[in-house]
């Protein structure tokens, strides 16, 4: 199945094409792939993050489906 993945802020550097930016890229995944498996395969750092699928908040163990739009946002400190 194919899933669009958008990585925000400094996570954009982890897009496999090396081009950066928050524009989503299409990923071919195994059926029943989870958000956590995508995070692991991209090698994202173990830092605080917020995950959305199709514009709704999602949890990392959630299973992805064909055509899903995954977005991962990492807040940074300061307030």
């Amino acid at each position: 199945m194919n899933v669009d993945v958008a990585l925000f802020a400094y996570l954009a550097d982890y897009q496999p094409d090396g081009l950066g930016g928050r524009a989503p890229r299409s990923f071919a995944l195994e059926a029943d792939a989870t958000i956590a498996s995508v995070i692991e395969s991209l090698g994202l750092p173990d830092e605080p993050r917020i995950v959305f699928v199709n514009g709704k908040h999602a949890e990392e163990p959630d299973v992805l489906h064909e055509g899903d739009r995954l977005a991962i946002f990492p807040p940074v400190a300061g307030g």
């Binding site: 605080p48 959305f52 908040h57 977005a71 807040p75 940074v76 400190a77 307030g79």
Partner: protein
């Protein structure tokens, strides 16, 4: 000859063409602010000055000297709980403001209950992991309440890089998303207050039914 022969420049400006229904709507509104530091203390004052009637102020900390360069506190308030010190100042601005003070460090177990009565929640904490906890907990358990978060307000990059955007349905984000205070960027009152103003204005727009782009 006087440059202002009629004295017009010395008269007070006309009152803005105000809308009583709009003001009534704000006066009946309740905003919860988690964190009363540089973002939260200044956003609270802006919300009250704009007419919001009720605030819940949540912070576990006390005022320190190092806060005075950007937070709405005064030297004679050092050592006092931030919630109490801020309330004292806010009531000087708006004596009939309805304030709820919570001197507490929020956790994922109690945050929903603490902010549940509010119409809008402003996240104004310092730590990235607490920002993530607040967003993950509220967006999961209370997605109907709009949440305004902040990320990326440190340093000396342009103030124009601080923006408000609607990341998803009920999650609004203020900042440049990248300027991390832990990467050696100092916090300047000018840029922190830009972000605080963005958070306060986003809350006002949400309360009045304006969508953010």
């Amino acid at each position: 000859m006087s440059p202002d022969p009629d004295g017009r420049l010395c008269r007070p400006p006309l009152e803005p063409d105000d809308d009583p229904a709009l003001r009534a709507r704000l006066a009946a509104s309740h905003v919860a602010i988690i964190g009363c530091g540089g973002l939260g203390s200044n956003a609270a004052a802006m919300l009250l000055r704009s007419g919001v009637g009720e605030l819940t102020l949540i912070d576990f900390d006390v005022v320190e000297e190092s806060n005075l360069n950007r937070q709405l506190y005064f030297a004679d308030q050092i050592g006092r709980p931030k919630t109490e010190a801020l309330a004292e100042t806010l009531l000087r601005i708006t004596p009939d403001a309805r304030l709820h003070l919570v001197q507490h460090c929020v956790t994922e177990h109690d945050i929903v209950e603490l902010v549940a009565p509010a119409d809008v929640v402003i996240e104004a904490v310092d730590r990235a992991d607490v920002k993530a906890m607040i967003a993950n907990t509220l967006l999961r358990e209370h997605p109907e309440i709009p949440l305004i978060g902040a990320s990326g307000l440190a340093g000396l990059d342009s103030a124009n890089a601080v923006v408000t955007e609607r990341l998803v349905d009920s999650y609004y984000l203020v900042g440049d998303l990248v300027s991390d205070v832990h990467l050696g960027h100092s916090l300047f009152a000018s840029r922190v207050m830009v972000a605080a103003a963005h958070e306060a204005h986003a809350a006002i727009r949400i309360l009045l039914g304006y969508p953010e782009p």
